[in-house]
């Protein structure tokens, strides 16, 4: 099973994400509360996919992705951002940070799973 790291400062959203992932067969889910926490966890073990919120204290999602891309282990890993908007601004930032894709929240569990399986299969 793919190892997935989810990063969000909201308990609730982490719970929802995790629920949807576990329900969709991705049972190996690790949680982090912000970019700093995520980076630590990403350093400690290798994840196949990182899904991160954008707005978080300490280190936001874009910064996290930039940092991850600097690591050899995550150069090519799929990194998804969770966003509430579809704006070009978001997309521009996401792309320049090095993110693989984005998922708009609120999301349907099915959509999330599809997106996840797609990026994982793509590899």
């Amino acid at each position: 099973v793919a190892k997935i790291l989810i990063v969000d400062d909201s308990n609730m959203l982490r719970d929802m994400l995790k629920y949807a992932l576990v329900d969709g067969g991705y049972s190996d889910v690790t949680e982090a509360v912000d970019g700093v926490d995520a980076l630590e966890k990403a350093n400690a073990s290798q994840f196949d996919l990182v899904i991160t919120d954008i707005n978080m204290p300490n280190m936001d999602g874009f910064e996290l992705i930039q940092e991850l891309r600097k690591l050899n282990n995550y150069k090519n890993s799929p990194l998804l951002v969770l966003t509430t908007e579809r704006s070009d601004e978001m997309k521009g930032k996401g792309k320049s940070a090095g993110a693989t894709g984005w998922i708009v929240k609120p999301f349907l569990p099915d959509q999330l799973i599809q997106a996840v399986s797609m990026v994982l299969n793509k590899k």
Partner: protein, 715 residues
């Protein structure tokens, strides 16, 4: 697929929202005070509002989300300095926050509809809109940035891109690159395609109405986009790469502006800046499996950091009910332990008995330690309560045109979480009351040589196993004569009783029912809650209220509360064949009276104990509880003087027995409320013990007296 239990998440959200609201309130209050908003504060506001919106929409709170969205837009512009901050904005934003709280509450119990929403928010929305349109040129303005950010990519090669496909209502699909805009309302998912790898697989996306997902392609070469190729065809297969060589990124199906811009320059800004609206409805959970969240979720989940910088915070969040359950288990353990101890005393072999008792004592100690550890989990710092006050105080001060400074001490003093709920309202009420009646108007204060700004100080400390919370104002103090006069006219006290009352007793009269002064029923102190309810609530928490007031100097109201509601030290008293438990903290003293200490008044129905110049009504418990007593004269049995607030009574019981710790089990949950009995416990021998409610007994005694008096006057 999965069945989210949306209500569970809503509750989690409500909890998180409370913290976010606190943040918003506090930042906005500061801003209001300073008349300015720092960049940092703006970012903080935006972040909180953004999270409210994002999480709120995830749990389908559409109305709250709508207002949050608009407010967030506004904050976003503030943050980016597209709108200049003006001092009066704080007030508008505070109103927005208040309304958000209200909407959340209503939506949580499904009592919000479109009309309510409109009536509650239309003025706020239009004010926000005015700022938004007035100061910001056009909603489309931000569109430049994305263009800049996106690498210039040649629109290219379609060959590389097998289209990945839109699922059913295409909530999902892929973007090649910078597809400038997916169809606005469309996609929920996308790729930022990194060219370095996987050049070949770029994808096209769907974008019709509901895509929740997409890719960005950064690869210059791989992406391409042709506007005409709208992949709107609902191909049934979800994520399967489409075999067709050609289809590529398709921006919004019908968006003409996209076509134009997209072709020459993929990174072109989306013409439609705000496609988000469509996302919300899409969030309905599908499927119906009623599964609650899997055990796994949340197991490791609780990391949550306080505002500290360090990421790895070592805390977890636990639902209070789990702790309650744990506490309950320990309660059972205490009872089982008591049973064992009792059984052990019946072991005839003294040697065996001794060694068992010795070990049992050890067990008792461990259980107590366990209890204490669990108690400490339940404790939360007072600052959780304090944080709610600045906002309330500001609102009231505004309404009253008074100037108030709020000070608080003992932020780190810990208090049982279960008590917070019961404590917040009384504190709120006292604060309102102090501001309304205690603090003078600024001019008046100035004239009497005080600073114009009044002060409300709340302090909390822990001592002797009690929590002491005091609320102090530097206002004009309570006019005791006015209170006393009112009390007499309302029949709350009699003139002759007055002579034996201390000043504190007299001031305490403000906590009697029916004594609130006329102004107290304004909308401020209002809400139908009188000071009497404050006292009742504090008594319910096992606490007492004290008051100290000095003319022109101010008033201090003090709550003395037990540390916890879950366990108490009790004294067993025997009344006939029954044993009752008296809370130890209510007991003042106990004695066997001499005959000359008992005075009878009236027709002899009322008995008083004369104790050091003080007359204390005697309550014959056996009468109240209809027991057959061993003794019918106080001189034969025992009198236990108990106190609740300023009232003392002497309980007449046959004898008192041992003292021990009992686990409190609420009566109303297991049986029903009984006047005079506060709760129950299970004793070591498995029988039920009733814990007397001293306050209730005093009330009952007063009621009986009153009844007698009326009966007499009728006769």
């Amino acid at each position: 697929v999965s069945g989210f239990d949306i209500n569970m998440y809503r509750e989690m959200f409500a909890e998180e929202a409370e913290e976010l609201f606190d943040t918003l309130d506090n930042v906005l209050l500061e801003a209001e005070e300073q008349g300015d908003l720092s960049d940092e504060q703006m970012i903080e506001l935006f972040r909180a509002m953004h999270t409210l919106k994002g999480s709120g929409s995830s749990v389908e709170l559409q109305f709250m989300t709508k207002l949050a969205h608009k407010t967030e837009d506004f904050m976003d512009k503030l943050r980016n300095h597209e709108i200049a901050y003006q001092a009066e904005m704080a007030s508008l934003l505070i109103d927005c926050t208040d309304t958000l709280k209200e909407l959340l509450e209503m939506e949580m119990d499904d009592s919000c509809d479109e009309d309510t929403f409109q009536s509650k928010t239309s003025h706020l929305m239009s004010q926000l809109e005015t700022y938004l349109s007035g100061n910001a040129p056009a909603p489309a303005a931000p569109a430049e940035e994305p263009a800049a950010a996106a690498e210039p990519e040649p629109v290219a090669q379609e060959s590389a891109a097998p289209a990945e496909e839109a699922t059913d209502s295409s909530n999902f699909g892929l973007f090649t690159d910078d597809t400038p805009s997916d169809g606005d309302e469309g996609t929920i998912f996308g790729f930022f395609n990194d060219s370095s790898k996987a050049p070949t697989k770029v994808t096209a996306t769907v974008a019709d109405d509901g895509g929740a997902f997409g890719f960005f392609n950064t690869t210059p070469r791989e992406s391409e986009l042709k506007a005409e190729e709208v992949s709107e065809a609902p191909t049934p297969k979800p994520a399967a790469p489409a075999p067709a060589p050609a289809p590529k990124a398709a921006p919004a199906p019908a968006a003409k502006p996209v076509e134009q811009k997209a072709a020459p320059k993929p990174a072109a800004p989306a013409p439609t800046p705000a496609p988000k609206a469509a996302a919300a409805p899409a969030a309905k959970p599908t499927g119906g499996s009623a599964v609650k969240k899997p055990g796994a979720a949340g197991a490791e989940g609780g990391d949550r950091k306080a505002a500290s910088k360090s990421a790895a915070s070592n805390t977890i969040r636990v639902n209070l009910t789990k702790i309650d359950a744990l506490m309950n288990n320990v309660g059972e353990l205490v009872i089982t332990n008591a049973m064992l101890s009792q059984f052990a005393t019946s072991i005839s072999d003294q040697k065996v008995q001794d060694s068992i008792m010795e070990r049992l004592e050890l067990l008792t100690r461990h259980i107590r330690e366990l209890q204490e550890s669990i108690m400490s989990i339940r404790m939360v710092p007072m600052e959780n309560i304090y944080s709610k006050f600045p906002k309330v105080i500001r609102d009231i001060a505004k309404k009253l045109n008074k100037k108030v400074e709020f000070k608080h001490f003992g932020d780190n003093v810990e208090i049982d979480k279960a008590m917070i709920e019961g404590l917040t309202d009384p504190l709120m009420h006292i604060i309102r009351n102090s501001m309304d009646h205690g603090l003078e108007m600024p001019e008046e204060r100035k004239e009497s040589g005080k600073p114009e700004t009044g002060t409300i100080t709340i302090a909390a400390e822990q001592s002797n196993g009690q929590i002491i919370i005091s609320i102090k104002d530097d206002g004009k103090g309570i006019n005791i004569d006015t209170v006393v006069n009112k009390a007499i006219t309302k029949g709350v006290i009699t003139e002759d009783k007055l002579s034996s009352m201390t000043d504190e007793d007299k001031a305490m009269l403000i906590f009697e029912a029916g004594l609130s002064t006329a102004e107290a029923i304004t909308d401020l102190s209002g809400r139908g809650v009188g000071m009497d309810v404050v006292k009742t609530n504090i008594n319910k928490l096992g606490g007492v209220v004290r008051i100290d007031t000095k003319p022109t100097i101010g008033t201090t109201i003090t709550f003395v509360l037990p540390l916890t509601l879950a366990i108490l030290d009790g004294l067993d008293v025997a009344v006939g064949d029954t044993r009752y438990i008296l809370p130890l903290n209510a007991i003042v003293e106990s004695l066997q009276p001499k005959a000359d200490m008992i005075k009878r008044i009236g027709d002899g129905g009322n008995e008083l104990l004369m104790l050091r110049e003080e007359f204390i009504p005697i309550v014959r418990l056996y009468k109240l509880f209809n027991e057959e007593p061993k003794y019918s004269e106080p001189t034969e049995g025992m009198l236990i003087v108990v106190k609740s607030g300023n009232h003392k009574v002497a309980m007449f019981v046959d004898e008192f027995l041992d003292q021990h710790q009992v686990v409190v089990k609420p009566l109303d949950k297991n049986f029903r409320n009984v006047q005079g009995v506060g709760a129950a416990t299970v004793r070591g021998d498995g029988t039920i013990g009733l814990i007397l409610d001293v306050m209730g007994l005093i009330e009952e005694q007063k009621r009986v007296e009153e009844f007698k008096r009326q009966a007499k006057s009728v006769a």
